[in-house]
Amino acid sequence: MNPNLLFLILLLPLCGALINGLFGLRLPRALRGAVAVGAVAASFASVCLLWPLAAGEGTRTILGTWLASGNLRADFGLLFDPLSAAMALMVTGVSTLIHLYAVGYMHKEADTARFFALLNLFVFAMLCIVLADNLLLLFLGWEGVGFCSYGLIGFWYAKVENAAAGRKAFLVTRVGDVFFAIALLWLFAALGQLGIPEINALAPQLSPTAVTAIALLLLAGACGKSAQLPLMTWLPDAMAGPTPVSALIHAATMVTAGVYLLCRLFPLVSLSPTAMTAIALVGAVTALYAASCALAQREIKRVLAYSTMSQIGYMFIGVGAGTVSGAMFHLTTHAFFKALLFMGAGCVIHLCHEENDIYRMGGVARRSPLVFALFLAGALCLAGLPFSGGFFSKDGILLAAYAQGDGWFRLIWLLGLASALLTSLYSFRLLLLVFAGEPREKVHKHHLPGLMRWTLPPLALLGLFGGLFNLPPAYGGGERLHHWLGSLAGSLPVVDHAREFQLAALAGGLFLLGAVIAWWRYRRFPGEQPSALKNFLLHGWQADAVVEWSLLKPFRAIGRFFWEGLDRTLIEGVLHTLAGGAMREGETLRRWTNGRLSTYLSGFAWGLLALLLWFLLVLAKSAGPPHT
């Protein structure tokens, strides 16, 4: 097989984006969607067909040189190894379903050309991150994803909040990008290489301090894209975009980019125990934080956004605990069930007449049993129903954290368990509030387009049975994903099976406990009952306010000082004084030109007098009387 065919995976979505971006407005509506779906589906098909190339060490192929200057060399090169192939398969597969769903979702929207162009460009940028063989190309995709998320979150830009949400996502992730860029430059300065395999191979040459610093910088970069503390504020607001965008950003792409980056550079990151602990700790704290916030949210999509943040926290724990395969496993199952949940939420919102508030929903189960069944499947996976995909992947990560022993990782493990309980609780709260009981608002009958319904069942099946991809040996599985990843898979937790079953039972118990609490509390809608704690959680622990007070207010104060204090008062003041003086002088001089001949003539006379006086002075100064 010609390895250059790998570029098809990348270029097909780009072509789709170009066609829709350049000619989309001239194409018939049906064709725009068809081009977008076709491009991504073809990309998915190429990943499937080229799958054999990834086996073993994988294939590395270079299309051409992008930059070459001195030592610096960056190629348009792809690295199709087990890790990137698995990720690319997941990205293209889930994206295809999301694109199909989007065709149904956007069928009443006017500006679909821009939408599908950006959607395809998004997939292209994500695949760039996944498949790049050097960090510079990866960074290109990294920024491309940021740009497309800006365009898509603010897709309905006519509403100011949406445009602001897009801007916020762009700017907050940009903070992380700066750290990533520093890490990239540092790596280049220290190793003289940008290729990912080279960096991973040469990493042991770096001093331990440098490795720790670089790994922490990479962590900061990953935090921005993956919405981990403290750069997480953009994610809940990103719900302003159309639902397929939320599904795409929060399931298959963008937010997983940070986890993927850490997995990709795992051989480097794993050299620093400090950084590993920091990664796991950030993940654990974020998991608990986001799960607690999800408990109090009122908008269905915000609940899911916080749950995404929380689940990605688990993936960070996985990377920190050294199990890349565990993190990738959770990433994959999460992609399935979270895409399912988001698209199900889109269906629910549509059925409830564009209502977002779960306090005003209720009784959706009776109106659409299919959507209920699918959403239930997704929520059960999220909550960790024993033997569903989400259960195995989450358990694998918690097991790995547990196996790391005492110290920080015991705390991380406990945080993970607490988050698991909260996850179950908020999942069932969401389910009960949305689907149980009677409708709390009067609603008209709405019909769902077929594309919006029938793209969900495959995801539900993948989510429920996703555990089979990486079934642990304790359950008779072969850990397929772990073996597929080979040398890239990180370490395996060493725990005997009895302890593993005890932990699984504990997780199952937490799942049940959460379900019981939610059933007891939300079986019947208890009313809004606002409280200070709820309000605190609803606003994400007032994170926005903290940012506002700690960063934006001082920044604005400095800005105002420079603007009003320095620019306006000092600089403009000096200039205004000078200009005003010149004006007044000009006004005085202007009075002399009164047009009267006599004034001018006397001016001449005075001038003559002055000249003569000057001559006299000169004569008086030169020695002796003038010669005659």
Partner: protein, 101 residues
């Protein structure tokens, strides 16, 4: 040279300042022009005197030039005086102050 140069220069200076006084003091355009003529002639006298003193022809050439210049100036300015008199009915210099800033 029979007349000493100092006398010539004193006379021409007196002539010049008399003309200047006329220019400054009078408001009638014709009188101002006459004052200018007197000033020019004062200057011409100084040039002629200098030419005679230093035995240099340049001064006299300049005087001839000055005469030609004066005649041209007088013809144009008198034509303008006639025109202004017809147009505005006055030769009062301060009546023509449209060029004020």
């Amino acid at each position: 040279m029979i007349v000493p140069l100092t006398h010539v220069l004193a006379f021409s200076g007196a002539l010049f300042f008399l003309g200047l006084a006329c220019v400054l003091a009078r408001r009638n355009l014709i009188m101002i022009l006459i004052g200018v003529e007197i000033m020019i002639n004062g200057a011409g006298l100084a040039l002629a005197g200098g030419s005679a003193f230093w035995q240099n022809i340049d001064g006299q050439i300049l005087v001839i030039l000055l005469m030609a210049l004066t005649s041209a100036e007088v013809s144009i300015s008198l034509a303008m005086v006639v025109y202004l008199q017809r147009r505005r009915g006055t030769l009062e210099a301060n009546a023509y102050n449209e060029m004020h800033g």
